[in-house]
């Protein structure tokens, strides 16, 4: 059996190394890298698009193509994350935290070097884990029932504590808000329409893409607009030397890479876990286990390495349930499942026996794709690092315009753009008020699966599921992880040389924001009390916990005075710092400039409603470059025409987006073909 497996592995490599197949794999990698760079487009879009082209290929080539594409979207998504603070896919939000500050300090090259190396090593580690676990895949997966999956998700959720840094209460509230966001829409148990406010848009819940882009990308861009400086801030970009330093960083941190990639691969096998949380869980793991973490969030290279190694390793893991049981671990795996069927391969035991060579060719495809992808990115990152020194007046409108269209890929409705803007404003305020944003996204992603598996576990086993050994293990770890930091924080605050004392109530901006959140929670509570028991129980519990934490936090804001020295230096801030150019401004100017920035975003939305998204893009970019950036008319027109032509080609021609209705097009149907 062992020898057979080895032979199959070697045979699969030989098949894959045939020049024609290598070229197909390379083509897949190129498409994947392109998709990864563009915010809003992920592996799913690419797979759906490419699947028909694999009809004519043999199974090995087809998987080389599709997997080559899927495996590297999380390699190139680092580029916009580091440069602009914009996650290229939902899997690179955690990369922003340290990658973007590095770029602002002129170290984009180092961030790229470390990120690609970590991606490469992570991808390979994921493939290796998949390869060596093939013989035990089925028994392991069969052992993991719904209660175990629930416990793993709960454990993931407990990372909220470590990801909340110095603001544990606010982190809990943010996580609660995320969980509640996850519960918007038709409830899977009873079909109750939860917080849909009479709109069809909210029936399937809030799409992750505009939420992520709003929460992480818009606040970064708003701060760049407020500071009115290039990303590099005038520092000379490190190119070749920085890159090499980054590669060295990643190699020196091999143990961290290995831990985070195996974490990524293992979590990838949990259906529903997804790239959007795995990077954060790896980041949290690094924060928890590494020493000297005070620079995390300010440009610690280990933050980049943790996030990037885990999200590339995920691919290997999410193939496990797909190959062994035909249970797709993610939406892109569902499409891949279609490819299996197309080539007459039935996922299940036979993939691990008679079709073992195909399975191994998939493993090899992941490994080779990661090598080619990281190599290509490294080769071009020299040029890319220089983007950081481009004038912000030219760069910002283009990035914004692409984000608008990217966010629209969430569910292709106007609502996506409102969600983007809403979460953008909310995220920006959170960032300014020192509210940690990662717990919110953790809540959004894990909320749905936690509720599902909770109902299944209780419905099937009542409360007996709590006595299963793995459940006990993970739930204990979760409780320790959640309560530990809280207790430590409180203890260190009370026992420090200058313990916090109570003062007269003081109304600060932070307290005002907390109050707004509390009012929103009370309003949510008022609505949910009208639902039936099953639809209500989980959101009710979450709302009450969030309210308790919120009110405590408000009291803290109002009455407690903490000396700056009293905070624990070991607990690192886990959210991106406010950049230099913003900190030196007075509040009035900041608010005026922020208002200006979000005003431009609103203007785009209004234009898009009037004349369609692509004409709006043309006008928006031209006007922004000319009037905000004070660039020449020539540059404004050239840039606007260029990006609009590119978007038309990609989104209209290749992806065939159904464009939303607009006012002019409805009024003058003859114009409709031009107003998309």
């Amino acid at each position: 059996m062992e020898a057979g497996a080895f032979e199959a592995a070697v045979a699969a490599l030989a098949i894959l190394l045939e020049p024609s197949r290598l070229m197909i794999l390379g083509a897949g990698v190129l498409v994947g890298l392109t998709i990864g760079v563009i915010p809003g487009l992920g592996g799913i879009v690419g797979l759906a698009l490419l699947l028909p082209f694999t009809f004519e290929l043999d199974a090995y080539s087809a998987f080389a193509f599709l997997i080559g594409m899927g495996a590297v979207t999380t390699t190139s998504d680092t580029i916009p994350a580091v440069l602009f603070g914009v996650p290229g896919t939902t899997g690179s939000a955690a990369t922003i935290l340290d990658g973007h500050p590095l770029a602002k300090a002129g170290q984009a090259g180092r961030a790229f070097g470390a990120a690609y190396t970590a991606s490469l090593l992570g991808g390979i580690a994921g493939a290796v884990l998949l390869a060596i676990s093939i013989p035990v895949l089925r028994p392991v997966i069969l052992y993991l029932g719904s209660p175990e999956l629930l416990a793993i998700c709960v454990f993931g959720l407990s990372m909220v504590a470590i990801l909340s840094g110095k603001a544990p209460l606010k982190g809990m509230v943010a996580a609660g808000l995320g969980l509640l966001v996850a519960m918007v829409g038709s409830d899977p148990q009873t079909g109750t329409l939860r917080w849909t406010f009479g709109t069809l848009y909210l029936w399937e819940g809030l799409p992750l893409v505009p939420v992520t882009l709003g929460l992480f990308a818009l606040p970064e861009l708003a701060d760049l607009a407020i500071a009115r400086r290039s990303i590099g801030g005038g520092t000379r970009a490190d190119t070749r030397s920085g890159q090499l330093a980054g590669v060295r960083d990643a190699l020196e941190q091999w143990w961290l890479v290995l831990r985070c990639s195996w974490l990524g691969a293992a979590l990838g096998a949990v259906p529903g876990m997804g790239a959007a949380v795995i990077d954060w869980l790896a980041y949290g793991h690094a924060l928890k286990t590494e020493k000297n973490t005070e620079r995390f969030g300010h440009g610690d290279i280990r933050g980049v390495i943790a996030s990037e190694s885990s999200n590339n390793a995920k691919e290997g893991g999410s193939l496990v349930p797909t190959i062994a049981f035909g249970v797709p671990g993610s939406a892109s795996m569902a499409i891949l499942l279609g490819a299996f069927m197309m080539h007459g391969l039935v996922p299940g035991p036979r993939m691990l026996t008679e079709n073992l060579d195909v399975t191994y060719s998939i493993v090899w495809s992941i490994a080779l794709a990661n090598i080619i992808g990281a190599g290509l990115c490294l080769a071009f990152s020299n040029q890319l690092a220089r983007v950081a020194s481009i004038r912000i007046g030219l760069l910002l409108p283009v990035v914004l315009a692409v984000i608008f269209i990217g966010a629209f890929q969430g569910s292709r409705q106007w609502g996506d753009l409102y969600v983007l803007l809403g979460f953008g404003v909310f995220g920006w305020i959170m960032k300014r008020q020192g509210w940690p944003r990662p717990p919110l996204i953790l809540g959004v992603v894990l909320g749905e699966i936690v509720e599902r598996y909770l109902f299944i576990s209780v419905g099937r086993y009542d409360w007996a599921w709590l006595t299963r050994p793995l459940v006990i293990l993970f739930v204990t770890l979760a409780v320790v992880g959640l309560v530990g930091p809280l207790v430590k924080n409180l203890h260190s605050a009370l026992t420090s040389a200058q313990p916090p004392r109570l003062g007269r109530p003081r109304l600060t901006a932070s307290a005002a924001f907390t109050s707004v959140v509390i009012v929103a929670l009370v309003a949510a509570l008022d609505v949910l009390l009208g639902w039936n028991f099953e639809a209500r129980i989980v959101p009710l519990t979450v709302t009450l916990i969030a309210l308790t934490c919120g009110v405590t936090s408000l009291a803290n804001d109002l009455f407690v005075r903490v000396q700056p020295a009293a905070s624990d230096a070991r607990v690192a801030p886990t959210d991106a710092p406010i950049i230099e150019g913003v900190r030196s401004l007075d509040l009035r100017s900041v608010l005026i400039r922020a208002g200006g920035f979000f005003g431009w975003c609103l203007a785009y939305l209004a234009l898009a409603h009037l004349a369609g998204m692509l004409p709006a893009m043309l006008l928006f970019v031209a006007a922004f470059v000319r009037f905000w950036g004070r660039e020449s008319i020539r540059s404004a027109l050239l840039l606007a025409a260029g990006i609009t032509a590119f978007s038309t080609l990609l989104f209209d021609q290749v992806l065939a987006i159904p464009w939303p209705q607009n006012i002019l097009g409805t009024a003058f149907p003859a114009l409709q073909p031009w107003l998309k």
Binding site: L47, A48, G145, S186, W203, G338, M341, R412, F455
Partner: protein
């Protein structure tokens, strides 16, 4: 005899000539209209699911069969379990035959059974037909000890389901409510395959609402080796492969119950439905209907479908029209019974 026959023949030939020129004039008009145009095929779901796979395959072949050979472009328009697309197709999409769509098989009965969020009259859509007349099954895992529907009168079967409103949730509730079967539904699994995995690991004992085509292509060995037992077929007519197994309508006790079953399981006939907005020009509707019929016989299409393991068992647009007319004409008592049968009265 001959004297009477000759004019009749002449008249017939004349009529035939008139008809064919008339028909070919209409065909020319249709072909002129579609030549060089794009037909958008809207999919009410995001990429990756069954509806998406069928529609993308269809879009590769349909253009060849429409006069004028337009390009057919699939577009995903997800939202509200494809209800958004249904509302869009009915109220907003151009009514000229350049936009067609596919949505959930239960959508056409939604106005009758729930009416929440529906902004259309299902009978007024221009139905092109359905690519498959699905037969779904209730199956029990071999370790459950349940062998027949009768066993469920005395023995409990724990059945796994996905989301509220899906076949895997509605069908077991209907079987429980109409037949008094002792079914305990555990819903909330992310997808149908997750239910099968749960069955394999002993978390649930069965699945009600599993299309036979999917079963035979992915778990055919389970049936052959007796790892699962088919309890009943859920459809309006038996699958040709499964003539030995009972069908849900066999268990109806009254005319009323039979009618209610027809309302509920008519969605199976519209397994992979294709339709256009209401009121598109009649000759274009004809052309689109015939195009769908002929795609379903096209050997290239069938070979691709076979490769993807997609079952093709077409139903014409006229048949869908007739079915909807019958269902919407059902007695109030039957509609009331159907609406209450799909409701989870058990509360859990």
């Amino acid at each position: 005899m001959t004297t009477t026959r000759t004019p009749a023949l002449a008249v017939r030939i004349l009529l035939l000539a008139l008809l064919t020129t008339g028909a070919s004039a209409a065909a020319d008009e249709v072909s002129d209209f579609y030549a060089g145009k794009q037909v958008r095929l809207l999919i009410g779901y995001s990429a990756g699911g069954g509806y998406d796979t069928y529609a993308r395959l269809l879009s590769r072949h349909l253009g060849k069969h429409i006069p004028g050979n337009p390009t057919v472009v699939p577009q995903n328009m997800p939202g509200a379990g494809s209800l958004r697309m249904a509302n869009f197709l009915y109220n907003v999409a151009p009514k000229d035959g350049t936009v067609i769509g596919t949505f959930g098989r239960g959508i056409a009965m939604e106005p009758l059974l729930s009416g929440v969020g529906t902004q259309f009259d299902a009978r007024k859509f221009s139905w092109l037909g359905s690519l498959n007349n699905e037969v779904s099954l209730c199956v029990a895992w071999h370790e459950s000890g349940v062998k027949t529907m009768q066993d469920l009168q005395t023995q409990e079967l724990i059945v796994g389901g996905t989301g509220s409103g899906s076949d895997t949730v509605i069908f077991p509730i209907v079987v429980r409510n109409l037949l008094g079967a002792d079914i305990r539904l555990i819903s909330g699994y992310p997808g149908g395959n997750d239910v099968l995995l749960a069955m394999e690991r002993g978390e649930v004992d069965g699945r009600c609402g599993w299309s036979y085509s999917s079963l035979s292509s992915t778990r055919g060995d389970w049936l052959e080796q007796g790892r699962i037992t088919i309890l009943t077929q859920l459809a309006l007519a038996k699958h040709p492969d499964l003539s030995g197994y009972p069908i849900i309508t066999d268990f109806a006790d009254s005319e009323n119950e039979l009618e209610a079953m027809e309302i509920i399981f008519s969605r199976q006939v519209m397994g992979r439905p294709y339709l256009a907005p209401p009121g598109i020009p009649a000759e274009r509707l004809q052309a689109l209907r015939r195009a769908l019929d002929s795609v379903a016989r096209d050997p290239e299409f069938l070979s691709d479908a076979g490769q993807l393991q997609l079952e093709v068992n077409p139903v014409s647009g006229e048949d869908v029209d007739a079915l909807l007319a019958r269902i919407y004409g059902a007695s109030d008592a039957a509609i009331e019974l159907a609406a209450s049968a799909i409701r989870d009265s058990d509360g859990g």
